[in-house]
């Protein structure tokens, strides 16, 4: 490929066109991401008198407490990533090798936790895995125990487990996308040569799916690195604290962050490194996918019915995954169908749903969330797609670093973003903070990297001969994009839209900083309900949220195509 690789300019008439196209997104990003981000992070780069200095960072990196925090953050991220990959591989195998009905349904379901606001995730976890949760109560009843059997929460293990369970669907998604294209022929050939079992996997399969694994691992690592609510609540307290949690705490103490900014800066740099690694791995992975084709695969049911150890293993695996991923969500939903009647009793009832849909603040929150979700899609989708397109077609040196920078919002906590808006725009004549577009812009900034992720993978997978064929047939740059590349990434666009929507309706941290009474969203409402003893109400709103996310991801199922 080397000799025939194309620099961006050769692919377009003149250099002006790509620059013009990028101007819009670049301007938007500058105004609503880099500038606010800078206003916060600059706190970590100035000393007391306001002059630029590395003193704060220096002090931070010398402080044993913060060093411990940084070390722990990286350590738990590494372990969580390993666990996620291990858990994800069997699932990726199943998804890649077998057909079963409702495959996309399952994928839609397992993606929901990823976009849910942290409070709902934690609520569900506590209600299911907690000492008085469904699981323990079940076990206690079954085995007649006095004390809870599985005291898994409020510990290091809880953090790892929660991370693994909420991130392993990403591993499944990314790895299976590559794995499904690896023709079983290679394995059959190896088998005929005497390789089998683990050796077969290690020597033949693994090297082929490695780019996918690395790509997924890099992404999961970043998510675990920046994990906030899970560590905060399920870790049990100050003993297990990560970068993001500390930033959160410091932000609560004072909005003028010095150490907090320095910490966020450290986190951003680490994320940037791994984003870069992710982009490189993804390029290799997409290149591999480019070369391979899809093929027929057998039905899963037939495999599971075998009374073989293999069938049993996978059956157990599926059961376990189903239980652990779905259970917390199901618990939240189940709990919402109640009303606290007299004498602390609980009765089954649709009371809260009646309240939500009969108007008032709750309905307004629902409608607001839908509005913001739609607006976020409208902004994030074109922007993300455009950036992904240019990114996938450019090959100048440093383009990968630039791409990593563009994806940076993944590596920045939304708390910092919200604070950034506060700080950057507090002195502006037009009140950005407290306006509906501030929320939309914040959501867009948070969501567009995911759009990029989904669409750029598809752009890259495209065989280069396709655009060349189109060009030889007379398609100019715009026609190329419109008639060939856009239709081909259509499914990715829809996936990207679903993600953008999901992320927007589930966003809480930045929204909490930027909202006002007229613009309450579902997550903020949930937060408030919890703050006033209304857990049933919180679960009901949480269920509505889950329903929206589920529907959004189900649309991918309807449209079909690769997820």
């Amino acid at each position: 490929m080397g000799k025939t690789g194309q620099p961006l300019e050769a692919a377009w008439t003149g250099r002006l066109l790509p620059l013009l196209l990028l101007a819009g997104p670049a301007f938007f990003l500058f105004l609503f991401f880099y500038y606010p981000l800078g206003s916060v992070l600059v706190g970590g780069l100035t000393d007391q008198s306001g002059a630029l200095s590395l003193a704060v960072i220096y002090a931070l990196l010398r402080d044993p407490y913060y060093l411990k925090i940084i070390g722990f953050t990286v350590w738990q991220a590494i372990l969580s990533t390993l666990l996620s990959v291990l858990l994800g591989l069997p699932g990726a195998y199943l998804l890649a090798r077998y057909e079963f009905r409702g495959k996309r349904l399952v994928q839609a379901l397992t993606t929901i936790p990823f976009v849910l606001p942290s409070i709902v995730v934690v609520l569900g976890f506590v209600r299911f895995f907690g000492n008085n949760g469904v699981l323990n109560r079940l076990l206690m009843a079954l085995f007649g125990l006095e004390e809870p059997a599985l005291k898994v929460l409020y510990s290091f293990q809880a953090i790892l487990l929660a991370h693994a369970f909420y991130n392993f669907p990403i591993v499944v998604r990314i790895v299976s996308s590559l794995w499904r294209r690896i023709h079983p022929g290679t394995e059959e050939a190896a088998r005929s040569l005497g390789a089998h079992g683990f050796r077969l996997f290690w020597r033949v399969t693994l090297p082929q799916i490695l780019p996918g694994i690395l790509s997924a691992a890099a992404l999961v690592f970043i998510f675990c690195l920046l994990s906030f609510a899970i560590v905060l609540v399920l870790g049990g307290g100050p003993r297990y604290s990560t970068l993001e949690v500390e930033v959160y705490r410091l932000a609560k103490v004072s909005l003028d962050l010095k150490t907090g900014s320095a910490l966020a800066l450290v986190g951003a740099v680490i994320s940037l490194v791994f984003l870069y690694a992710y982009i490189k791995a993804q390029q290799r992975s997409s290149f591999a996918e480019q070369m391979l084709e899809d093929y027929e695969r057998p039905r899963l049911a037939s495999m599971l019915r075998l009374r073989s150890p293999r069938g049993m293993f996978y059956l157990l695996y599926l059961l376990l995954m189903a239980v652990v991923i779905l259970a917390p969500m199901v618990t939240v939903v189940a709990y919402s169908f109640q009303v606290r009647s007299g004498w602390g009793q609980q009765a089954v009832s649709l009371e809260w749903y009646r309240r939500i849909f009969s108007g008032g603040a709750y309905l307004r929150a629902v409608l607001n969330s839908l509005f913001f979700g739609a607006m976020t899609v409208l902004l994030a989708l074109p922007m993300g797609t455009l950036l992904a397109y240019v990114g996938s077609r450019s090959r100048f040196t440093g383009s990968q670093l630039l791409q990593a920078l563009v994806m940076l919002p993944i590596g920045i906590s939304s708390i910092i973003l919200g604070l950034g808006y506060l700080k950057a725009y507090r002195n502006f004549p037009w009140h950005i903070v407290g306006s509906w577009y501030a929320i939309v812009f914040a959501h867009t900034v948070i969501a567009y990297p995911f759009v990029i992720r989904v669409t750029s993978a598809t752009f890259r997978k495209m065989k280069p001969s396709l655009p060349e064929a189109a060009r030889s047939l007379g398609a100019g740059p715009w026609q190329l994009f419109w008639h060939l590349e856009l239709p081909l990434v259509r499914f990715a666009l829809i996936t990207g839209a679903a993600f953008a929507f999901g992320i927007s309706v589930g966003e809480i941290n930045a929204t909490l900083i930027l909202y006002n009474e007229k613009m309450i969203t579902i997550p903020v409402m949930i937060y408030r309900l919890i703050g006033s003893y209304n857990f049933i109400g919180a679960c009901a709103m949480g269920s509505v949220l889950m329903l929206f996310c589920f529907l959004a991801f189900l649309i991918i199922d309807r449209v079909g195509g690769e997820v």
């Binding site: 506590v126 049990g236 959160y248």
Partner: protein, 345 residues
């Protein structure tokens, strides 16, 4: 329509919507009626079931003034926001500064003192700010609330709380991010003095978890994760009032419970200082005070206000503990750092 045509329509409509959205965003100014009084308050104050929906209309009607109440998070964040906007205050009143935060507020110099004539109705010991930069409007006591259906022999003192029979049965909050959390830390210092760290090291095994905020802690408590949680003496009243259950009870300790007094103040450089003063007067009036118990779940500062029936289950301690504002300011950072170091081990 065939596939390609549908494709065109899709893309076209998306682009149109995008144009509309950007156009609307750029063109729409912040269309809002000019408010004549702007208040920053904490979240539960502004919520549907909080005091604001009840008291604000009263004020608006009484004085013919349009009020805008903005929620900016919890009490600590209210103060932070005020400090952030020091040079260009967007609000007139900042609501939620308590006795533990007072010295920080005063030090940052964000408040304008105002002595309301209505202060004469309020007991002296509740007026925690001599400069009158902050005017009190309600108070409460931190207390451990327990589930009587699960716990049969609750502790009667801080010391007993550290008993081994309560292993992993207590939920508390982090003083860095929660005011009950801070209150409890100060409480232990008020009781144990410099020996508080030693106390905490004995208490630690009994803690199921240390949460970042009251909501999470209380949520876990009512979910049954642990039978004891740090909360307020008024918490049981809520359950009596709305759930008709007396199962959750507050504990009064031998040496007393720690006192929290909440107040609000006028911001220096406030856009509408006159209306702000009227509001301060208003909060000490019966109209405002009578709404506090059932919406904010605290005691009104005005002793003349009769608390509802359910408040019988919100016991008032005989002794109330408090540390002085100066003491807090001088030592808070040191206390918290030492505490963090201890519990992080």
């Amino acid at each position: 329509m065939n596939k390609t045509q549908i494709h065109y329509v899709e893309v076209a409509s998306m682009l149109l919507l995008l144009l509309f959205a950007t156009g609307a965003a750029i063109a729409a100014p912040a269309v809002e009626e000019e408010a004549e009084l702007v208040i920053y308050a904490y979240d539960s104050f502004v919520a549907e079931w909080g005091p604001a929906p009840k008291v604000i209309p009263k004020f608006e009607e009484k004085y013919g003034v349009k009020v805008k109440v903005t929620s900016v998070g919890d009490a600590g964040q209210v103060l932070n926001r005020a400090i952030l906007e020091k040079d260009n205050p967007q609000a007139d009143i900042v609501l939620g500064i308590d006795n533990n935060m007072l010295s920080r507020a005063l030090e940052e110099g964000v408040l304008e003192p105002y002595r309301s004539p209505n202060l004469k109705n309020i007991p002296e010991q509740l007026v925690f700010d001599a400069t009158h930069s902050v005017t009190p409007f309600d108070y409460g006591y931190f207390a451990f609330v327990y589930d009587s259906e699960v716990l049969e022999d609750p502790p009667e003192s801080l010391e007993e709380l550290a008993d081994s029979r309560f292993r992993k049965k207590i939920i508390v909050q982090d003083p860095r991010t929660s005011s009950p959390g801070l209150g409890f830390l100060l409480w232990t210092i008020a009781v144990y003095g410099d020996g508080y760290l030693e106390y905490w090291s004995r208490l630690q095994p009994n803690l199921l978890t240390i949460t970042d905020g009251w909501d999470t802690a209380y949520g876990m408590f009512t979910s049954g994760e642990a039978p004891m949680v740090l909360s307020y003496t008024t918490s049981p009243a809520y359950h009596v009032e709305y759930e008709q259950t007396e199962r959750y009870r507050a504990l009064l300790f031998e040496k007393g419970n720690y006192l929290q007094i909440e107040g609000m103040g006028i911001l220096k450089g406030a856009p509408h200082p006159q209306t702000a003063k009227m509001f301060i007067d208003f909060i000490l009036s019966e109209d405002f005070q009578v709404e506090i118990p059932l919406t904010n779940w605290m005691y009104p500062v005005d002793p003349a206000v009769v608390t509802p029936e359910s408040f019988r289950y919100a016991p008032k301690p005989e002794r109330s503990l408090q540390l002085s504002a100066e003491e807090i300011r001088t030592n808070q950072e040191r206390w918290i750092n030492a505490w963090v170091k201890l519990v992080s081990r």
